[in-house]
């Protein structure tokens, strides 16, 4: 190590006198100015190369990957949100549809019920009218029958009265007188 150091020194004309390396390494290596030029040149080349690699290739590449991932995540989240919105809308549409259908069914039911009610009402009225007419007919017939019967009763009563008078008095009574008497009796 001392030799290599001496060699390095040897290559440099007018090297510092403090570094004639008899014991390990001579000068403290970090302060040995004979190495500065080599290190600076290497550092410049290495660092410029690193800078170019980093700025031209590495950072755009890694940054692009990270951005792509970020975009993908955001895109996926947006997609999920969109799908959720869509399903929400579909659910809402379904519910409206259901409510409409229910209202429709109700309306149809009501209408049908009203129609049936009206029909049965009409039928009932017709029936009632018919029954009333029949009743009126029957009543009229009864009245006629009764009148007839009454007139028959008068005739029979007049005859009977005439016969009774003849039987009792032996005279044939005046028909008109008998009739008026029967009438009066019937009225009474």
């Amino acid at each position: 190590m001392a030799e290599s150091h001496g060699e390095a020194k040897g290559q440099k004309a007018g090297a510092h006198t403090e570094t004639d390396g008899g014991h390990h390494g001579g000068a403290f290596p970090p302060f040995d100015s004979s190495n500065f030029a080599s290190q600076l040149v290497s550092l410049a080349i290495a660092f410029v190369a690193l800078y170019l690699i980093v700025s031209r290739i590495a950072l755009p590449r890694v940054g692009g990957t990270i951005d792509a991932r970020q975009n993908k995540i955001e895109g996926d989240l947006a997609e999920a949100q969109k799908l959720k919105d869509e399903s929400d809308a579909a659910l809402k549409a379904y519910e409206t549809e259901l409510a409409n259908a229910r209202a429709n069914a109700q309306a149809i039911g009501n209408e049908t019920r009203e129609k049936l009610n009206a029909a049965s009402e009409a039928e009932r009225k017709a029936l009632e009218a018919k029954l009333a007419a029949k009743l009126a007919d029957a009543e009229k017939q009864i009245a006629t029958t009764r009148t007839n019967a009454m007139s028959n009763v008068r005739g029979i009563a007049a005859d009977a009265a005439g016969a009774i008078v003849q039987q009792l008095a032996g005279v044939t009574p005046d028909a008109n007188a008998v009739n008026s008497a029967v009438d009066a009796s019937l009225k009474g």
């Binding site: 190495n35 030029a37 550092l43 690699i53 700025s55």
Partner: protein, 249 residues
């Protein structure tokens, strides 16, 4: 058995590249580890996949990206992202080279002041040039704090200017000294184990348990320091750049 904690910092030329003036430009072990760091970063950032669900390597690459980006945004604001490649390069270069340097028999680039000073000066001049380019003379208002009474303003300005120009010194020495001291301490304690064992025999090996435990603890600390110093260097860069971007504060 002799402990030589300085040996690990030696620069050993592997081959000569050429000459600039009377300086010999050699490809050294330091150069080797610089390129290893660059290679590792390139591998990490480029070989990792681009999956939607990241694997381990890709996660590390993305976490590094996000970590540095968050650091910049929180210290220098969204405008600081202009310097994202620079700060990312600095942070990754130092972090990877420091972590590689903790492995035994490797070389720690940041244990040489010239390297950390060069990086700190790069930051310093970036701040200075960008600050003047973007804000013109208003940039120098960073030397004039608000609400300071006029009679002590010259003194405060002097201190501000001094601290501004000392920034590259503290910026570089902090990193350099941390790496250097940590590695020396690690080497000394690790050396004790071997020294005790070789000089005292069986008893020494038993007694070596104590420095060994210390070495392990220090090693864990050094792992933390390796990351932390790279982070400190990066975040200080952000704070300095913030001055250039928003000199009003």
């Amino acid at each position: 058995m002799k402990i030589d904690p300085i040996h690990q910092f030696n620069i050993e030329p592997l081959f000569t590249l050429g000459h600039i003036g009377n300086h010999t430009i050699a490809f050294t072990n330091s150069s080797l580890f610089m390129f290893i760091a660059v290679l590792l970063i390139a591998l990490l950032m480029l070989a990792s996949g681009r999956e939607l669900v990241p694997g381990r390597l890709q996660s590390v690459a993305e976490i590094s990206y996000e970590f540095v980006a968050t650091t910049i945004r929180s210290t220098a604001g969204a405008e600081g992202m202009k310097f994202f490649p620079l700060i990312f390069s600095l942070f990754m270069f130092l972090c990877v080279s420091n972590l590689v340097g903790v492995i035994p028999y490797t070389f720690t680039i940041a244990s040489h002041l010239i390297v950390t000073a060069a990086l700190a000066l790069l930051v310093f001049f970036t701040v200075l040039i960008y600050g003047v380019y973007k804000n013109g003379l208003k940039f120098f208002s960073i030397f004039v704090p608000h609400g300071v009474p006029i009679y002590i303003l010259p003194l405060v300005m002097f201190i501000e200017i001094l601290s501004f120009f000392l920034r590259p010194v503290s910026h570089s020495v902090r990193l350099f000294a941390n790496m250097l001291a940590g590695h020396i301490a690690l080497k000394v304690f690790a050396g004790f184990v071997a020294m005790l064992g070789f000089s005292l025999g069986a008893l020494g090996w038993v007694g070596g348990v104590l420095p060994l435990a210390l070495t392990i603890a220090l090693y864990a600390l050094e792992l933390l320091v390796a990351f932390l110093q790279a982070y400190v260097f990066a975040i200080l860069t952000c704070i300095y750049l913030n001055d250039a971007i928003h000199p009003g504060h």
